[in-house]
Symmetry: D2
Subunit: 338 residues, 4 copies
């Protein structure tokens, strides 16, 4: 299947290009940009390790008005304000738009999808088709931290029920894109706030853990409180979570619940699906950003009971599992089930 | 008053020497070490900004067995295992021992003191004298993060009552002393655990916020849950706090409560006391480690209500307010009231 | 004397405001900006430690067209392309323009001034007045690294003559202004190139160490080779220098030469002049950025002979001695001698 | 061939274990330690990314006195003082000792080997055998920075002759081993000195580029001046080099010389040999530590002529090409030719 990439020169666009180089199902056929339209992709400022993959070096960056009829699906790594109209336009024209942008995530008929967590929300596409009269479709993935958090909450919710969640994030700078944070702002510093992030985490978590019924999502009613910090690391968000469950939990049982967690991507054996969505570490001082970061699996450690809370620490790769890889897995699921 | 410094070559010892250079009441008369006994202080490995203060450059480092009768008070910046016996021995011999070490903090008759928070706990010294038959005395200050957290909890407790506290710390490397953390462990990394720290925070907070009655401290019954992280900053611990109060709170009122908080050190105008123990910032993305660190005041920002919790972020200087300055303020209070 | 600041919201503008708060001769009367014209200065994004100084908090940011007749001297912290015409215009109108911008540094009749090194180059102002018919004047200071390097070369040149200089810089991120370098570019990284910097270092050094004769500067003929690196530190440039002198040198003599170096600012006792322009350290592993940075003095260490070269390491504060402080010292010298 | 690893728990020992996991010729049969003797290798403090390789998890750490007769070759990642006697002892007993330690590097009959640069120096083994009466042999590899520098100097020397070299290193913290540098020493800092490193670079370069004649190495007479800095990066040393060649050079020709450089390991197709020992980058601001680090190839960029010097910047992986990989390549060469 031929695919295009919107926002191909940005940091998530670059990750998509890197991850799709040898993809068994998707062939990158067109790259889209804005200021760089007309340039050779090989001439942009590549910010990931290593060189620009050979297969896109000679691609000319196109404007979305030039989209080829051959391109059936587009990945959108656009900044949210730009994504707003372009994504709708392309879905209207018949393209499958798989978006990492936040612009449409919270709309009623747009699936906000994590394949392991709420694959059933794809049913919204039916509603979407009817209301919007689109020939194509629009699927979104959540914010990076939301993905990591809900991946871990889901098995807890299923097994024990959840009353309350408190989460404190320590987020790497690549989460802010490129150029993103000025170095003067973050070298030797902690910034205890990320604009809009806490609101996203709360609202998106409620939608993802919500129930699809009668053509819409009833959001989950879990009380969720979040503080987000920016820290001087490059890749990898860490989340310290505290959860009050409905039913009593035992740590050993929770560890097993995490380890055994598996979803539709694993059953369908999707190309980008990790063998186990959650990796458990029992070492006292892990997971650590530098040592334990996994592209698509979430690592959970420090699982323990403190007073009435279950506490744990989560590590995930914000630009892979939390963005580019999330979109690719969504596209794979869409292809597999529809 | 002539004072000595135990553990004078370590990182807190160095801070003590720096802070006491121009102290109006205490004159540093003797420096104590272990491996460095006999050396000139000017020849040690000074790790703070600038040079070794002139006034100690020619001091010979002594063993505690050589302690001069002139020295009435000693500051202890010893590692805990070493502190255990030496502090007791010196208190027994008649010295006032003002300690930053954790060895004796949790003992029943030892004040664990923050002058703004629990000055009344100095009454334990009476009990101490009677039980231990010491000619001197032993006063301790809490762990760095405990000091910051309880300074902020105290006015909340007094004004609204507290049911539950959840705290996540982001602690700078200087908190681990010197040599402390290997650079390979923390450069570009977050370590989601600090050995023994969470336990200290919980137990010490309960003691400090406890009530002195009938010769002992009844620990506070607040449910406290803590996760500690080590982050790649040099000085300054940041704490993300969530508090469930007994009585309803309003953010504006809380800000005023913090701003107006003041204690005995302020009333007595102690030399090292900050004018206001708590500084409030209303900027959305503050306090930041690099920009807002204050030697003796705690900076609180991001005060907001989320669901049933009051949330906020605390910044404090771990080796000054959280260690060397804490000990000095304790000594000043002791001198002023006893 | 009432002064204005061009580019008052940028990182060097902020340093100027910070340094001029209590200046005995200059009173900041007007702040100039571009996009921020009309705003209160208290509302800008202040990036230095601590808060915006009270004395400018309520100042309205002006456009240069509103410059007051009372303002006799302006400090220019403008980006070079903007500086080009504005500085000329203001000099033409009668203002003394003391600039940190590179736009006019290399022009024949513009002094490129370091008060300790080439105060005599102020004589160019005579030429400037005649050729340009300006009522005012324009004085510039060099690039940050050039200032540090030439401050150290000057006493060597005077004492021993210099044939060849090789310099490798390790420059902090604040040298790139704000927002400057994206954090993704420099966290955990070294960038072995700074655009335009090597050329500036070579050309500016030749002009500063050149000789004023017959109304113009004959550039120095020292063979100078430079490589510039960007490193992940906040403030403080480090330079590893190798110098081939004309006459034989002895290390001890060089150390004395450095220590005794003193210039017109010291003789005139200018307010911002450091007591000694060069501070010498004999410790094997110094100067270090975090420990030894001095606002206005250059620190030199590791002075040694290797083969035919004299080698040393230089540390200087790039935004103070290398920029804001350099301009202020230039203004002070101008005031004192003209 | 069965091999052992001396110093298996240290940072280079860990790299050796990681690199040898799937080695086609060497099978790790025994791991040696000191304080950890008797422990399971799976229980040590693993400091590299990912987990301890499964194949060594259950190995018991042995003392060298327990060395098995089956082990023919040992890699030594010992600290120098410990290496001194153990290496000699094992060579005496008949083992091939391939060492990364500095203890014996400069001894007359010990090859200091970089397979691409001076494979002929293996002839020293004949001398070694005769003088020392060892049944085994001892081969060493140079210091990490020396390897990178001489790899680049070798093709220049062959093509143009070299009169003078000036090199400034920016070295990552992993070069100091583990625990190595305290984080307080290097976070946000540059240290302009590494004890003993400059001397090693000069002496080892002279030996490696020297000529084997009549049973000994005549050291090269190139005038070499070096300054070493420690910078806050994890892996990857950067070297800014300046070379005065005997014959005139052209940049384009030099780039080709670098690119075409190839040695015996490439001709013999040794398993660990990089396809090209030197990778050339023509981008203005490369090589960068975070983006360009290659395990076994040296990356050279910024090649340019300045005045009488050829200048360039070198990047190499200090613990792979500069240590563990260097030893493995030496062992592979030894196996292939002897």
């Amino acid at each position: 299947m031929k695919v295009g990439i919107l926002g191909a020169t940005g940091s998530i666009g670059q990750r998509l290009i890197q991850m799709l180089e040898h993809h068994p199902e998707f062939e990158v056929a067109q790259l889209f940009g804005k200021k760089s339209v007309g340039k050779k992709y090989g001439d942009i400022n590549w910010i990931l390790k290593g060189n620009i993959p050979h297969y896109v070096e000679d691609s000319r960056i196109c404007s979305t008005s030039e989209i080829s009829p051959e391109v059936e699906l587009v990945f959108s790594a656009l900044p949210s304000p730009v994504a707003e109209s372009i994504e709708v336009e392309l879905a209207h024209k018949g393209k499958i738009v798989v978006s990492n942008a936040s612009a449409h995530r919270m709309e009623e008929d747009i699936p906000l999808l994590i394949p392991e967590v709420n694959p059933g929300h794809l049913d919204l596409l039916q509603v979407q088709k009817e209301t919007r009269k689109w020939k194509g479709a629009l699927i979104t993935n959540p914010n990076c931290s939301t993905i990591m958090l809900t991946m871990v909450l889901k098995p807890l919710l299923d097994a024990y029920g959840i009353e309350q969640v408190i989460a404190v994030t320590l987020q790497a700078v690549s989460g802010a894109g490129y150029p993103g944070l000025p170095s003067l702002d973050i070298l030797g510093n902690i910034i205890p706030h990320i604009r809009g992030e806490e609101e996203k985490l709360v609202k998106e978590t409620a939608k993802i853990l919500g129930t699809y019924r009668g053509g819409r999502i009833l959001p989950s009613q879990i009380e969720t409180s979040v503080t987000c910090n920016r820290v001087p690391t490059i890749d990898g968000h860490l989340i310290n979570g505290f959860v009050k469950t409905v039913h009593e939990v035992e740590v050993e049982e929770v560890l097993e619940t995490f380890q055994n967690f598996s979803g539709l991507p694993q059953r369908l054996n999707l190309p980008t699906a990790p063998e186990r969505p959650i990796r458990v570490t029992r070492k006292a001082d892990r997971p650590q950003t530098r040592l334990d970061l996994d592209p698509m699996a979430i690592v959970v450690g420090r699982v323990r009971k403190i007073n009435t809370m279950l506490a744990f620490t989560i590590l995930g790769h914000n630009t892979i599992r939390g963005a580019a890889g999330a979109s690719i897995l969504n596209a794979e699921l869409f292809e597999a089930v529809l």
